[in-house]
Symmetry: C2
DNA sequence: TTAACAAACTAACAATTGTTAGTTTACATG
DNA sequence: CATGTAAACTAACAATTGTTAGTTTGTTAA
């Protein structure tokens, strides 16, 4: 079990505050106070407020990109790949509840890394859409506007971080399979 | 066609900026500059920055509450009510693309009206969940955790404001019926 | 004991924040 | 012309912002 460095601890606490109030509304004094130190002391460990946000968002975005590449190169059919995507989101979101908030809501406050982030996101969505189109072509999934299909599934998955903490009783395997059922088979009987 | 007052114009422009950068990151000078005037001049029309946010969020939240009450008192069955809810979200979101961003992302910056907003939201979710539970009981919809079902549908609907502007070609009737199909019947063939 | 280093501190900075006070301008109504 | 009003302006404020410089403290290694 690797020890958490002081820098990692600051980033973790920052992510928690960013989730509660958003990046812009969190001051370095807020963050320092939560750490039990003075604001200036933070700079022994981190370079800037901006750097904290960059780290939180980019590391998560790259994790999703990596997961998508693995799924794409798997030999599953389309529905199988979708189920793997759902699992990927459940896994990453549950392990990074706080960071997911920044990824969703504060990416526009990136500066030098903003274009890189956007490329990762666009590529991810292209891959996702590609899987859906393949499924339509092969007759695996229903022939409906793939854009709306992707939107519907992806926004649900991207918002998982809001709901997961509320349901500590619900285990993650169960959540994944319930989401599979709802997102893929619908709710109609 | 009622003329837009200067105050309404400021609120509309503010909502647009809030969508781009979030409430906290938008300064009164940003807003004034977008209006083509000086920051101090804004105060001839509005009371405070906080007031602008209150107005944007509460008016939208009340609009959703009102819509839900009408749907609940209708004589539709459960699936019919769900379709009406989808229509409600498509309608309000398309008419208030900017405001919806504040409703989703900046409600935590409400002060005196925060508890009132939270009550509206909790009540709305209770009503929504009630419709789902009724549908499960009557055998209309599949017997799956209603919490996850609501989460899935509601987050998709709440995020509509992100996607609607990108697809100007897609008309709203069509979007509603595509969403009906995807959210209710799923994507599996 | 001494040297090195991690990690805290105090004090201060220049810039930016929301907001107020008081004034000016332009136009419509009597 | 005189008056009232809507809507802009300039100037300034006290508070807060992210950050830097320089210093102190406590622990570890030689």
């Amino acid at each position: 079990m690797k020890q958490e460095t002081r820098k990692e601890e600051i980033i973790r606490v920052a992510a928690k505050l960013f989730k509660e109030k958003g990046y812009s509304a969190v001051t370095m004094r807020d963050l320092a106070s939560e750490m039990g130190i003075k604001a200036a002391s933070l700079y022994n460990h981190i370079n800037s407020k901006q750097d904290i946000l960059d780290t939180i968002i980019i590391s998560l975005a790259e994790e999703f990109t990596e997961g998508m590449h693995i799924i794409q190169s798997s030999r599953e059919n389309c529905i199988g790949k979708l189920k793997q995507i759902i699992q990927l989101h459940v896994k990453i979101s549950s392990q990074n509840i706080y960071g997911m908030a920044s990824l969703n809501n504060d990416w526009m406050h990136l500066k030098t890394k903003r274009d890189y982030y956007k490329k990762l996101r666009v590529d991810y969505e292209d891959d996702f859409r590609g899987i859906l189109k393949e499924g339509i072509a092969s007759g695996e999934i229903v022939d409906v506007n793939p854009e709306v299909m992707m939107f519907s599934i992806l926004t649900t998955l991207r918002s998982l971080y809001i709901w997961i903490p509320k349901k500590e009783d619900l285990n993650l395997e169960e959540l994944s399979s319930t989401l599979n059922q709802i997102l893929i088979d619908g709710i109609n009987k």
